[in-house]
């Protein structure tokens, strides 16, 4: 399986993402620059964390207009898995691929530490290798991870089981403890915690690896070749 890791000016978790795919998952990963305009050759698209365009206006607001973004949107519409982590999640929100917006953390602090997440929905292409209700340890590192959406959107997210992960101990003030959400089709996931930083016990947790294994498993199941 071939993963594209999109590199924006200011991305700083692209190497972690690449490492997770290449060294821990054992699949192919390729860095794709923000100014390229073709993602046709990739099976999954990864938007890493960082500070794209310095977050000078708002997290993700400027990256959303990068030349690669129409291709990311095209890939999402084609049903390919698209994962946005941290700043990548903010970019997906700004691009309208996921609903809602990010505000400054409730306590206004930048927080960088492992947190406990609950798997709310394990019937997705990103979470099928977890059990429902699993408690997993994944690090956060953000100052603007306070997820907000209006009541109508929240009701819809719940109704359609699009809340993939919640925080056990909400660190940032997100509505309903939301840590990660899916689009209606289930092939776009945005999450603030960093699964790519939890792919080996050496890093303090390997709980993030199952997310990437889930993507791979789903892809293999839908690309079975009958000899």
């Amino acid at each position: 399986m071939k993963f594209a890791v999109i590199v924006f000016p200011g991305s700083n978790c692209d190497v972690d993402m690449y490492h997770a795919i290449k060294d821990e998952l054992g699949e192919e990963a390729v860095y794709v620059r923000y100014d390229e305009q073709n993602l046709a050759n990739y099976d999954a698209i990864l938007l890493p964390g960082g500070f794209s365009y310095g977050d000078y206006l708002r997290g993700g607001a400027i990256a959303r207009f990068a030349p690669i973004m129409p291709e990311v949107i095209k890939a999402a519409e084609a049903g390919k898995p698209v994962l946005g982590v941290c700043n990548g999640f903010q970019i997906l929100l700004e691009a309208g691929l996921l609903p809602g917006a990010m505000k400054r953390n409730k306590n206004l602090k930048f927080m960088c530490r492992p947190v406990t997440l609950r798997v709310q929905n394990n019937e997705t292409m990103f979470t099928s290798s977890y059990e429902k209700g699993d408690e997993i340890t994944i690090p956060i590192a953000h100052g603007e991870g306070n997820y907000y959406c209006d009541d109508e959107t929240l009701a819809q997210l719940k109704e359609e089981k699009r809340i993939a992960f919640t925080y056990a101990d909400n660190p940032n003030g997100s509505v309903e403890d939301i840590a990660g959400i899916l689009n209606a089709e289930g092939n776009v996931l945005g999450m603030m915690p960093h699964p790519e930083r939890a792919v080996d016990e050496l890093l303090g947790s390997a709980d993030g690896l199952n997310l990437f294994k889930s993507i791979l498993r789903n892809w293999r199941e839908s690309h079975v070749t009958h000899a």
């Binding site: 206006l57 708002r58 607001a61 400027i62 207009f65 929100l93 700004e94 609903p99 809602g100 917006a101 505000k103 400054r104 953390n105 409730k106 306590n107 206004l108 306070n146 907000y148 959406c149 209006d150 003030g173």
Partner: protein, 83 residues
């Protein structure tokens, strides 16, 4: 040339963590008459003479300057700004 002053604020319905922190600071300085603080952004655009200026500014605000999911914006256009 025009000078366009754009004000971006969090919607009334959206809690403002920065505003709350500043309000608390004011209260700790005994400025208890301050009932609420909202923090926003102020942007100043210098814009060439353009057709449909008003429409263009709206577009600019909605596309990039404000995130209309959580933010409101207002703007003022001042004419005849010297270069």
């Amino acid at each position: 040339m025009y000078k366009v002053k754009v004000y971006v604020t969090l919607k009334e319905s959206v809690l403002d963590p920065q505003g709350s922190a500043v309000k608390n600071s004011l209260h700790s300085l005994s400025y208890n008459e301050v009932e609420d603080v909202r923090i926003g952004k102020y942007l100043e655009l210098t814009v060439k003479d353009t057709e449909n200026l008003d429409q263009r500014i709206k577009e600019i605000c909605e596309k990039l300057l404000a995130n209309t999911v959580i933010e409101d914006y207002t703007y003022e256009i001042e004419e005849g700004v010297a270069q």
